[in-house]
Every structure is written in structure tokens, then in C-alpha cells.
């Protein structure tokens, strides 16, 4: 099965075919991030910065200031962790045409453990003006969204998990910025990003059997969030649950909660990671341990609905 990063590697090499001033910057990680394909095809446009993620970003910015398009890619934890100063004050600030690709994001890094897990990257990047933030769920979304991000010629963060859980059943490929309503539901809508959509879909099957009406909204573009579409999809449900492979604070949950608080206040609970540092382990065991499984999500949906039972019906 193609992984998200395999799809990314392939899409990047293809992009190199059509964008002849596209440079790719690596930090001794191309074997894992799959930018090797681009490197082999376009060695003159592949920049090896070594284990120096802050300088990696500075080099990417310098290439962009001198007129080139750039993709800078390494593990999300280090790209954002060490590179943030440079990201903020060059790429975001001066709207440089750089796509930052953070791979191995989320707890599905697995056995390498917590230091290698980016859990706050979405929250941090969402906080930067001029930054587009995309979290794909499957290889098809990666392949479709990378060219759309490149076409922006503007700062963007593409966040890719190491793990994969198959293909999301959508009728057509994703459009940048457009949330996808996979299923409608009157009692609760689960809003999900990235790999979070898979346990969400599973939870829905359980809840449907209990006669609970549950919808699923897939949001790959966390920023800019299509507020009117999201509000439209959340208009009539009683409650909302947000699922993401991140700490909840400030990530997709933050984005949805902020939007609801300002426009459409209603119960909204987070199924992402709680405010704790996770241990490492196998991917599946971590998804179980940290609430990213069907049972936990279903429980949260029942809880959210119960919280609304004393309230007047949603408009």
C-alpha cells in the first residue's frame, strides 16, 4: 500500500518536471521523507543541509529571496521545532514561495518516541499570518494537494503522518480550502483531519447502530478555514466532536472551537491528544492509548450529545 510519504515523494518528483526552478531542501532525512526521488532526478536542485534544521529553513528562504520556488522537508518535529524563528520572520513574514513539508507528524511516529512526534505543529503554524496549513488523510489527497499548494506560490505547511490507514471514501479528489462533508448527521458532526478521519468513520458505524445520527466532516485545509462552509455543515447538529492526530489545544479543535464561539456557540469536544506527553509504542497501540480509536471517539460523541440534552434545541 502506498504511504502518504511515498505519494509525497512521487508528487514532488513530478512537480520537479514541470517547475524548473523548484528547489528541494533536506536535512539528512530524504530516505525517510521520500524526497530521494527528486534528488535522483534533479540533483542540481536538491540541497542537502545536513542535520541543521534552522539553517535548512534559512537556506530555503534565501533560495526564495533570490527568485526560486522551494520545498523544505524533514520531520515535522524538527522542521517546526528548530526552524520556527526562521519560518516566522522570513517565509511567513515576507510571503515567500516556500512549502514546508513536515513528515512523521503526530503520534504515529510510533516507536521512535515522543521527541520525534510533532504534536503542536498545526497549532503553531496555524498561528502564523500568511501561512496555509494542510493535513491530508491519504495518499490520493497528498498527490492532489501538493500541486495546488505549489500553485499558490506562497507560504504553506503540509503535514504528513508516517502511518497510513487507507483511502478516505470520497467521490472526487480534494480541492485546497474546501472541507468535505462525508456524511450528514443531526445529533453530532465529527470534524476530522488527517488520520483522525479513519477512527471517526469507524465510530460513526457503531453510533449509527445505536440510532445516533452522526455526520463526518473532513477538513484537510486547516488554514484558511472555509468558515461559511464549516458553519453551514455544523448549523443544525446538536454537538460537535473534533478528531486530529495532535494535541487538541490550538490545532483543528482550536480552529473549530474559535469559529463556533464567534458564530454558532454549541458543545464542541476534542478527541485529539490531551495535554500530556505521550509514550512511544506501535502506531495502533498509541492510537488506542491516546483516544484516537473508535470506542473513545464514540464515547465522546455520546458525552457531547448528553451535554446538550438540557439545552434548548439548536437553531
Amino acid at each position: 500500500m502506498t504511504t502518504l510519504r511515498d505519494a509525497f515523494g512521487g508528487a514532488l518528483a513530478s512537480a520537479g518536471d514541470t517547475i524548473d526552478d523548484l528547489f528541494v531542501v533536506d536535512g539528512d532525512n530524504h530516505l525517510a521523507t521520500r524526497t530521494t526521488g527528486f534528488r535522483d532526478r534533479y540533483p542540481d536542485r536538491f540541497v542537502q543541509a545536513g542535520v541543521a534544521e534552522a539553517n535548512m529553513v534559512g537556506l530555503a528562504a534565501g533560495l526564495a529571496y533570490s527568485g526560486h520556488r522551494v520545498v523544505a522537508c524533514t520531520f515535522a518535529a524538527f522542521l517546526i521545532g528548530r526552524g520556527l524563528q526562521m519560518i516566522r520572520d522570513t517565509i511567513a513574514l515576507d510571503r515567500l514561495p516556500v512549502i514546508l513539508v513536515g513528515t512523521h507528524a503526530g503520534i504515529s511516529v510510533g516507536q521512535d518516541g515522543v521527541t520525534h512526534m510533532a504534536l503542536d505543529d498545526v497549532a503553531i503554524m496555524r498561528g502564523l499570518p500568511n501561512m496555509t496549513v494542510v493535513v491530508p488523510s491519504d495518499p490520493r489527497q497528498v498527490t492532489a494537494l501538493l500541486p495546488q499548494l505549489l500553485a499558490l506560490e506562497a507560504p504553506a505547511y503540509l503535514r504528513i503522518s508516517r502511518w497510513g490507514l487507507g483511502e478516505v471514501p470520497t467521490r472526487q479528489g480534494p480541492t485546497l480550502g474546501v472541507p468535505i462533508l462525508l456524511e450528514t448527521g443531526a445529533d453530532c458532526v465529527i470534524v476530522a483531519s488527517g488520520l483522525g478521519v479513519f477512527p471517526a468513520l469507524e465510530a460513526r458505524r457503531t453510533l449509527i447502530a445505536e440510532r445516533i445520527s452522526v455526520g463526518i466532516m473532513l477538513v484537510h485545509t486547516i488554514k484558511p478555514l472555509d468558515s461559511s462552509a464549516v458553519l453551514e455543515y455544523l448549523e443544525t447538529c446538536r454537538a460537535v466532536v473534533v478528531v486530529e492526530e495532535s494535541w487538541s489545544k490550538g490545532g483543528l479543535f482550536g480552529a473549530i472551537a474559535e469559529l463556533l464561539a464567534e458564530n454558532l456557540p454549541k458543545t464542541c469536544l476534542a478527541a485529539g491528544l490531551a495535554d500530556t506527553f505521550p509514550d512511544g509504542g506501535t502506531e495502533a497501540s498509541l492510537f488506542d492509548a491516546y483516544g484516537l480509536n473508535s470506542d473513545s471517539i464514540a464515547g465522546l460523541v455520546r458525552q457531547a450529545i448528553a451535554m446538550t440534552s438540557g439545552q434548548s434545541p439548536s437553531r
Partner: protein, 265 residues
């Protein structure tokens, strides 16, 4: 073109104008601006290929003021050479002005937004990489305290390994930083040895000597990047600001400004 005596006068002019701008704004970094005035003068009036009428000329040389807080004197040069409208002079450090407290790339003639020390060095290496083979020179001006930042050495290692002979770093070795002498804050050790160990060609020069700077700032000889260790005096040109760390980030009062301008007349 300008003779050496003219450049000496030009440097005095830029010093006056930098201090006036800081005085008008009520804040800024006089000491750090004064120490680099001669370096900036030689670069902007003799060495760098620049065209104020076409700031985006792809064949232009690129200057990055990595010690961005020294910008008042750079801004004086940009105003004098016509990159920026004269109306911006009074808007230095003001809301809506193009000449912000630290350089913004949105201002004509400013290549890279700087401020966080070390950032400019890394980006300059990226620019040198991106313009390799085009004949464009990239020159970054760093402070000596700035060399405490690790990212400078990441950039240095990369530039030497990748043979960025079109890259030059100029270090304003004035021996001071914000909270005191660099030797007291965090000693830098043997800078010549460090840069040579990183594979750079090292030149040392009196940072206030126009003919010496002219030679030191000329194109490097081979495919190694070049670092120019310019020995300077923080606050150079105003007797009460020289080697006085308290003038790192304090604007002069009207009286102090008057005295300073008198010395620079």
C-alpha cells in the same frame, strides 16, 4: 567614482544622518550603527553593484545586514542613494514607515528581513546558493556578538562545504555587545582560527580604514567563501559613544545629539 577622501566625508555624513534619525525617532541603536559606517560606505559607494532606479535588477549584488539593529546607517545610505523616498527619513521606526526598527524586505533596497541575530547569515548562504554562477555577489554584515549564535556556524559549515565562493561575511569586530564586552558576556575565542577551521578564507582589516576596506571587501580569490574580520570601535566617531556599551540601544537626547553632530561636522 568616489575617491578615498570623498568616502571619508560620506561616512561622516551617514553617521550624522543615522544619529539624526535615531534622535527624531526617540529610539534606536547608535553604537552599532556608528561602528559599521565605514564598512557600509565602502560597500554602498564603491564595491556593490546596485541600481537605485531598479532595485530588483537580477544581476545586482545582494547585501544582508544580519546585525539588523545597526540599520540606521544602512537606511542613511539607502536614502542618500535614492532607493527610498526622502519622506521616509522622518518615519524611521514609526508606524507605517518603510524604514522599520529592524530591516524589512518590503523596503526598496533591503534584501532580507533581519533582526533575530544569525538569521541573515543563514539566508545569505541561501541567496549565494540560489545565485551561484550568475556573477552576483552576496555580502552579509554580522556583529561579533552575533557569532555566539549557532545558526551562523551552520551556515558557515554549509557555505564552505558547498564552495560558495560568491559569499562574503563581514564581521563588525567591535568587542562589545548589548550587555558588555564580548569577552565578558561569552568569549569568542580565536576568530581567525575558527573561521579557517570552518574552511573560509579569512581577511582582517581596520574597519575604519577606507583603502584597507576597499581591498578587503573585494571579491574573494577562490571558491571558498570569505570572511572579513573588521576591527572596529563601537560608537566610532562620537567620543562619548566610543566603546560605551550603554550606547548600544539608547537614543541621544537633543543636547547629546547636538554634541555628537558637532563632533561629526
Amino acid at each position: 567614482m568616489f575617491g578615498d577622501d570623498e568616502l571619508v566625508l560620506k561616512a561622516r555624513q551617514l553617521r550624522r544622518e543615522a544619529l539624526e534619525m535615531i534622535g527624531t525617532a526617540g529610539s534606536g541603536h547608535p553604537g552599532p550603527a556608528l561602528s559599521i559606517a565605514d564598512i557600509v560606505t565602502v560597500l554602498y559607494y564603491r564595491i556593490l553593484r546596485l541600481n537605485p532606479a531598479w532595485p530588483d535588477d537580477p544581476s545586482r549584488d545582494r547585501f544582508v545586514l544580519s546585525k539588523g539593529h545597526g540599520c540606521a546607517v544602512l537606511y542613511a545610505a539607502l536614502l542618500d542613494r535614492g532607493f527610498v523616498s526622502a519622506t521616509e527619513r522622518a518615519r524611521f521606526r514609526r508606524h507605517g514607515g518603510l524604514l522599520q526598527g529592524h530591516p524589512r524586505a518590503s523596503a526598496p533596497g533591503i534584501e532580507v528581513t533581519t533582526g533575530p541575530l544569525g538569521l541573515g547569515a543563514s539566508v545569505a548562504a541561501g541567496i549565494a546558493l540560489g545565485t551561484r554562477g550568475t556573477g552576483v555577489r552576496t555580502v552579509a554584515l554580522l556583529g561579533d556578538g552575533e557569532l555566539q549564535a549557532g545558526i551562523v556556524w551552520e551556515a558557515a559549515m554549509f557555505a564552505a562545504e558547498r564552495r560558495l565562493g560568491n559569499l562574503m561575511f563581514v564581521i563588525d569586530v567591535n568587542g562589545f555587545q548589548y550587555t558588555g564586552r564580548t569577552s565578558d558576556v561569552l568569549g569568542l575565542g580565536d576568530l581567525t582560527a575558527k573561521w579557517e577551521a570552518f574552511g573560509w578564507m579569512v581577511r582582517t582589516v581596520d574597519g575604519h580604514d577606507i583603502p584597507g576596506l576597499t581591498q578587503a571587501l573585494s571579491v574573494g580569490g577562490d571558491d571558498r567563501p570569505t570572511v572579513v574580520l573588521a576591527q572596529t570601535i563601537k560608537g566610532r566617531g562620537v567620543s562619548f559613544m566610543e566603546n560605551a556599551p550603554e550606547w548600544h540601544g539608547r537614543a541621544p537626547t537633543a543636547e547629546e545629539l547636538g554634541n555628537a553632530l558637532g563632533e561629526l561636522a
